[in-house]
């Protein structure tokens, strides 16, 4: 009998390793170059932290970062409030309304963006942070409502009935029973909306003015001219903060699934 070929066992793991390195090698190179002394070109000219210093001192970057932060925070707060209100208020018979909100992610974002732009221009709404918040909250609802809805369906309805039976008002029931139960889903979807808003390019591209530039728009307009060392440093910082957010998100969602099983 022939022995099974050994290299076959290693084929799949090697393939997976290759795909993972394909995903991360470009970013690793970018990370390394953020410490490179050279202004232009790709030769290694020694280690420096100058670009990080420049990044911290750049007024422009702080301004766009502040704009992004305002929009993202507002979008998170609004989409969570509106989403939870909808799910709590909707009774069983009207559940189909929720499917409307599942539609947002299925429409290409460019269509939503040009639609928003057309409406804002028609009604002469000045483009700015407010229009950005409107658009990002819309995107956020498309993520908050499915996630929170799944969690809400897992809540034992008898708990609500018991709470009402024992004399708590609707408000008390909501804040003491429902909200604590929803909390992990709220944090997870809130984080998701936050990062979606920070990442968003198209809605920001179409619905912002010169004074309401966001981080993504700033990166876009800078890298159109090619590689820029300050953007390397900025990308590295964003990479790092994304990793931390992912860790929080994953630990939350693993807790959610553990409770379920």
């Amino acid at each position: 009998m022939m022995k099974p070929l050994h290299y076959k066992r290693f084929f799949l793991p090697l393939f997976v390793a290759a795909v993972y390195s394909f995903l991360y090698v470009p970013m690793l190179i970018m990370l390394i170059f953020s410490f490179n002394k050279a202004t232009l070109g790709y030769a290694w000219q020694g280690f420096t932290l100058d670009w990080y210093k420049q990044l911290l001192q750049s007024i422009e970057i702080w301004t766009v970062f502040k704009n992004s932060l305002i929009v993202a925070t507002a979008a998170v707060a609004l989409s969570l409030t509106l989403g939870v209100a909808l799910i709590w208020g909707l009774n069983r018979r009207h559940q189909h309304i929720l499917s409307l909100f599942y539609a947002t992610i299925m429409i290409p974002e460019i269509v939503i963006s040009v639609g928003l732009l057309t409406v804002f221009v028609f009604f002469q709404v000045p483009l700015g942070l407010v229009t950005l918040i409107a658009g990002h909250t819309l995107l956020g609802l498309g993520f908050v409502i499915p996630i929170v809805h799944i969690r809400f369906n897992e809540l034992d309805r008898r708990l609500i009935e018991a709470s009402l039976d024992l004399g708590a008002s609707m408000g008390q029931t909501f804040f003491k029973v429902v909200l604590p139960f929803l909390l992990p889903a709220l944090i997870a979807s809130g984080l998701l909306v936050f990062i979606i808003s920070l990442d968003d390019f198209l809605i920001s591209f179409f619905c912002s003015s010169a004074t309401s530039q966001t981080l993504s728009l700033y990166i876009y307009s800078t890298i159109r001219a090619g590689v820029s060392p300050v953007i390397n440093a900025l990308s590295a910082v964003m990479l790092f903060s994304s990793s931390i957010l992912v860790l929080i998100f994953l630990s939350l969602s693993s807790r959610l699934t553990q409770e379920n099983s």
């Binding site: 790709y42 040009v114 819309l138 920070l198 159109r224 090619g226």
Partner: protein
């Protein structure tokens, strides 16, 4: 008890649901309706009338070819992603014992990284004196640097890179739920590995493959950033042409007509690929 039920299911809480519904109507359905109406309106000094001229104007070969190019790219990208992602998702879900959390972390991370950073990281590799050209020249493969930036190849590579995780994750989720004992049973009963794969694993992971495929398809189709930064401006795609209409030419009506033309063709293409995928995956009986 009955009274409680009545309160709980009564209409009085309905008004707190309205803000979300109003928000979505105002910023999603109204804009879409607006675009749709605008694409059929001829606006004159006094009033407007129904017209088909906008559609007739864009219904020509130059516009169709842009949509076809985007569709082709989307189909190609989604197919390649599916083929490459499947083994990865399968390995993560079925074979990997240790280090699963780390693998999952690095699978989730791309979703949380700014998409522009994704695209930007390729600049170092693709630019005129970037790393790929330098490496190839050092190895003596080429004498002159290749024009990697501003080419269709660059657009395709970066799209593949950007959207591959969107394919792996749904596949992983569905394969994770797959009862591994079914595979063991099939192998025990004498089926070969490939027979088990094609007749058991693949059909059972059908929904994951489908959702990943459509996700990547739609995202690639409407993609704007990658062609505008790496496509070199000469080759137009749906995303870049739509933005031309709305931001440069500023012809809302024709832009809207083009948007709906491409959306219509997208839906047809999605339906076509749905039939194709269903045949490919489920047809093998």
């Amino acid at each position: 008890m009955n009274k409680v039920r009545k309160i709980f299911s009564s209409q009085h809480s309905f008004f707190i649901t309205t803000p979300a519904i109003i928000w979505q109507s105002l910023f999603l359905w109204v804009p879409l309706l607006f675009l749709f109406v605008a694409s059929f309106l001829h606006i004159q000094e006094h009033g407007a009338r129904f017209t088909l001229t906008h559609y007739l104007h864009i219904f020509n070969w130059e516009h169709i070819i842009v949509v076809m190019r985007s569709l082709g790219l989307a189909f190609f990208n989604a197919s390649v992603c599916l083929i490459i992602a499947y083994p990865v998702a399968y390995f993560l879900a079925c074979n990997l014992k240790r280090g699963k959390n780390i693998a999952l972390f690095f699978l989730t991370l791309p979703f949380w990284i700014n998409f522009l950073v994704h695209v930007y990281s390729w600049f170092f590799l693709l630019e005129h004196n970037g790393l790929i050209n330098r490496l190839l020249m050092q190895l003596g493969v080429i004498k002159q640097p290749l024009h990697l930036m501003n080419s269709l190849a660059a657009v395709m590579i970066v799209m593949f890179h950007g959207y591959l995780p969107f394919m792996i994750l749904p596949l992983y989720t569905i394969l994770q739920k797959l009862d591994k004992r079914l595979i063991e049973a099939s192998l025990d009963l004498g089926a070969t590995r490939s027979y088990t794969f094609f007749n058991l694993v693949l059909p059972l992971s059908y929904s994951g493959a489908l959702s990943g495929f459509f996700l990547v398809f739609v995202l690639t189709f409407g993609e704007f950033v990658i062609p505008s930064l790496l496509g070199g401006g000469k080759t137009l795609f749906v995303g870049t042409l739509i933005s031309e209409y709305f931001l440069a030419i500023r012809n809302t009506a024709q832009g809207a007509a083009f948007t709906f033309l491409s959306a219509g063709m997208l839906i047809m293409a999605l339906f076509g690929s749905y039939l194709l995928l269903t045949r490919l995956i489920k047809g093998k009986k």
